[in-house]
């Protein structure tokens, strides 16, 4: 193996490891970069770090890509594995590995496995992260309450009177529940009517656009938040209950009759409330299940999906004409070996960020090769000598390029011959290294023209370049270091420049 080949392999292996590193430490980390993005808002993302895991049922399915403040809430961008589908009604929460371990985002999958979140979607349901301190405080408060409650209870129930009162209460409850049953059966018709009304109402809402859908979602979220609050307040409720129990205990003996009545009334009231609530709940459930037009509107992902698609299409179309970018650059390279200058002018048409077409003109001082044999006789020694001469020539390039993350592959015509090339962006928008291979069928049995280069942008419009030209050439004076300077303009610059030029016929 030649020395150059060894060194080449050495350097390429190094670059491969470097690429691996840069990939691993990039935003995507270990997740296949093809995954899609979701967002989720939390009241607090305390303790969570970018690149933390996203897990579903404990299995890692992605990473936290970014954490930022939106309004007064923390918004997380999640990068989810391409294969993993997340139901729309899934719930996200911030969890802790073990008691003191690192934080991660857990997604508890919802039931709606038929409807999954599209890329860019949002996980609407979240459980606020549990704060350990607060939790412990609540626990201790609650246990205090419970203790006191049971103490009072035992104090009250221990007496004979208490026992009787209890028996009475139980009897009352039994009665109350009987009443309750009656109420609900009696009201069943009415409830059904209400429901029907709601249904009709929802029909009227047919024209509500997807903008309003957000409001509805918000309402539902509020509703959930309300029930959440309810749940959270349980310890407080317990203490209220306890006070109530106290009072009950105090008054039971004296006002037995009154209390009996009040309790019965209370029960009745509760029963009514309960009924209404359960009715409302049924309506909500219906909506969520997608029954009725409103429900359809709210939940029909296909409608939403197709709307999104349409928008996407329009966007893409608009973008297509708008996103065609044009770049023009001029570059001068100094070939150290022959002390000559090579000029390049390139026009780059870039219809999308991952693709471009390149058309260029190259003025090559060693573009044309002429060779002739010369016979000389010195000291009776006759020697034939091949004399090679180069002369100036204008060449053209036309290439198609496609970009994969930092790597751009090019192909087409390079300096008037077939060729391919590759660029790698080592430091985004700053440092690019690349290699060109062309002129495969070279005159005089020469090696293909291989050129390795690096470009560094000093400022936006100015870059320096350098590298080795004609690396594998056996002719030593063809292989050469080069370095040079270039200017480049994007179409914005061009517009500015052209705008400043008075265009008068």
């Amino acid at each position: 193996m030649s020395r150059e080949a060894k060194v080449g392999i050495f350097v390429i292996l190094g670059l491969v490891i470097l690429m691996y590193f840069t990939f691993r430490v990039s935003k995507w980390g270990g997740v296949a970069a093809r995954g899609y993005k979701l967002t989720v808002d939390f009241e607090s993302a305390a303790g969570l770090e970018p690149k933390a895991d996203v897990k579903m049922a404990g299995v890692p399915v992605g990473k936290v890509e970014e954490i930022r403040l939106v309004g007064d809430r923390a918004r997380l961008d999640l990068r989810i594995d391409g294969k993993t589908r997340i139901p729309v009604d899934s719930v996200a929460s911030i969890q802790t590995q073990g008691l003191l371990g690192e934080k991660y985002v857990e997604i508890t999958p919802g039931k709606r496995s038929d409807q999954t979140l599209p890329p860019g979607g949002r996980v609407a349901n979240t459980v606020p992260p549990l704060n350990l301190d607060e939790m412990i405080r609540k626990f201790s408060m609650m246990s205090d309450d419970i203790k006191r409650f049971t103490e009072t209870l035992s104090g009250t129930l221990g007496t004979e009177e208490g026992k009787q009162a209890l028996a009475e209460i139980i009897r009352n409850i039994r009665e109350a529940s009987a009443v309750l049953r009656n109420v609900s059966t009696a009201n069943e018709d009415r409830l059904n009517r209400i429901l029907a009304n709601v249904d009709r109402l929802s029909t009227d809402l047919q024209d509500i656009s997807s903008v309003n859908k957000e409001d509805l979602r918000a309402t539902m979220a509020n509703f959930r938040a309300f029930s959440q609050t309810l749940k959270e307040q349980t310890p407080g409720l317990a203490s209220k209950l306890e006070t109530m129990g106290d009072q009950v205990g105090g008054v039971v003996g004296e006002n037995r009759e009154n209390i009996k009545e009040s309790i019965a009334n209370l029960k009745q009231a509760f029963g009514k409330l309960d009924n209404t609530l359960s009715a409302a709940e049924r309506v909500m459930a219906k909506i969520e299940r997608g029954e009725g037009t409103l429900g359809k509107l709210v939940n029909d992902n296909t409608t939403v999906g197709s709307l999104n698609d349409a928008l996407e299409g329009i966007n893409r179309y608009v973008r297509k004409t708008e996103s065609l970018k044009t770049f023009l650059d001029y570059r001068l390279e100094y070939l150290a070996e022959s002390s000559e200058y090579k000029h390049y002018v390139n026009l780059r048409l870039q219809p999308s960020p991952d693709k471009y077409y390149l058309i260029g003109v190259v003025d090559d001082p060693r573009g044309k090769l002429t060779s002739q044999s010369v016979t000389t006789t010195t000291d009776g020694v006759t020697s034939r000598q091949q004399q090679d001469a180069y002369s100036n020539k204008l060449k053209i390039s036309a290439q198609v390029a496609k970009r994969f993350y930092g790597l751009t592959l090019r192909g087409g015509v390079i300096e008037s011959t077939g060729g391919v090339g590759a660029d790698y962006e080592v430091i985004p928008e700053k440092l690019t290294v690349g290699i060109d291979a062309f002129d495969f069928a070279r005159k005089g049995n020469r090696q293909p023209h291989l050129k390795a280069f690096g470009n560094y942008d000093i400022v936006k419009n100015l870059f320096i370049t350098g590298g080795v030209d004609d690396i594998i050439s056996k002719d030593k004076n063809l292989r050469s270091f080069f370095f040079g300077l270039g200017i480049k303009f994007a179409d914005d610059d061009l517009k500015t420049v052209l705008g400043a030029v008075p265009l008068r016929p």
């Binding site: 000291d379 020697s383 000598q385 091949q386 090679d388 002719d475 030593k476």
Partner: protein
């Protein structure tokens, strides 16, 4: 062909004066042999001419241009006209013989690569060496090294050649081959050259002029024949190789010691 004129050349190492206002004219297309005792500064003289050592005073004109006043860049241009054979051959020991001989050819792109092999073979043949291209310097004898060094010096066909003891360490036949070569280079290519030698037989054969260096100065320049019959006692002691005379007067003690110890024909070396 360029003439080399040296005027008032002085070179000191610390406070030891090696060259002390030396004057010498080396006519173009001629071979001037410099003779002189060991350690008198002959090698230093050659290095000053090439600008390898910066002399303290004086001027060295090569074809009219003063080397002493040149900066490094101009010196590089001037040095391309020179070839030098070092006393110790100074072969690059990390390269084989071929790469050594071809060194300047490759650096100067004098020939296309395929031509260089032939040139190397030709130059090696001129110094009487065959099929040793792939050997490393450490695999050569002293005399072979010397000859490879000579082949390297003449490879780029310079106008001026400086030989520092070209025949030292060679057998008499090979020494004569090298003498013939030096003469041929001068006659056919008109090379200007300075040779240093201790070998008077060789000096008489190759010299157009012989210059004697003594105590930092050239004390006599003359043709071979005139030198042979010089009336200058210093010169005549040196060319006849007598142990007694003005040169060794300062070493009387040493001479007496050798005589007493019965040491056989001692020539002071190094």
């Amino acid at each position: 062909m360029p003439t080399i004129e040296i005027r008032g050349l002085t070179k000191r190492f610390g406070n030891k004066v090696v060259l002390d206002g030396l004057d010498l004219t080396v006519p173009g297309g001629r071979n001037t042999v410099v003779i002189g005792g060991s350690g008198t500064g002959k090698s230093v003289l050659l290095k000053c001419v090439l600008g390898l050592l910066r002399a303290d005073e004086g001027e060295i004109r090569i074809g009219g241009e003063d080397v002493m006043k040149m900066d490094e860049r101009e010196l590089v241009r001037v040095r391309r006209r020179f070839g030098m054979l070092f006393q110790g051959a100074a072969l690059f020991d990390s390269m084989n013989v071929e790469d050594n001989v071809a060194f300047a050819l490759r650096r100067l792109h004098k020939y296309p690569e395929r031509q260089i092999r032939n040139v190397v073979e030709e130059k090696l043949a001129m110094v009487g060496l065959y099929n040793i291209q792939s050997l490393m310097p450490s695999e050569l004898s002293g005399g072979m090294k010397k000859r490879v060094g000579l082949a390297r010096a003449i490879a780029s066909e310079p106008e001026i050649l400086l030989y520092d003891e070209p025949t030292t360490g060679l057998d008499p036949i090979m020494a004569d081959v090298i003498n013939e070569l030096i003469i041929r280079l001068r006659v056919s290519l008109g090379v200007t050259s300075i040779s240093i030698t201790h070998d008077m037989k060789s000096a008489y054969k190759i010299a157009d002029h012989i210059a004697m260096l003594y105590k930092g100065k050239i004390i006599e320049v003359a043709t071979a024949e005139e030198i042979r019959h010089s009336t200058n006692p210093v010169v005549s002691q040196f060319v006849e190789g007598r142990a007694q005379g003005p040169i060794t007067a300062e070493h009387e003690e040493f001479i007496r010691f050798v005589r007493r110890g019965g040491g056989s024909g001692v020539q002071e070396e190094q």
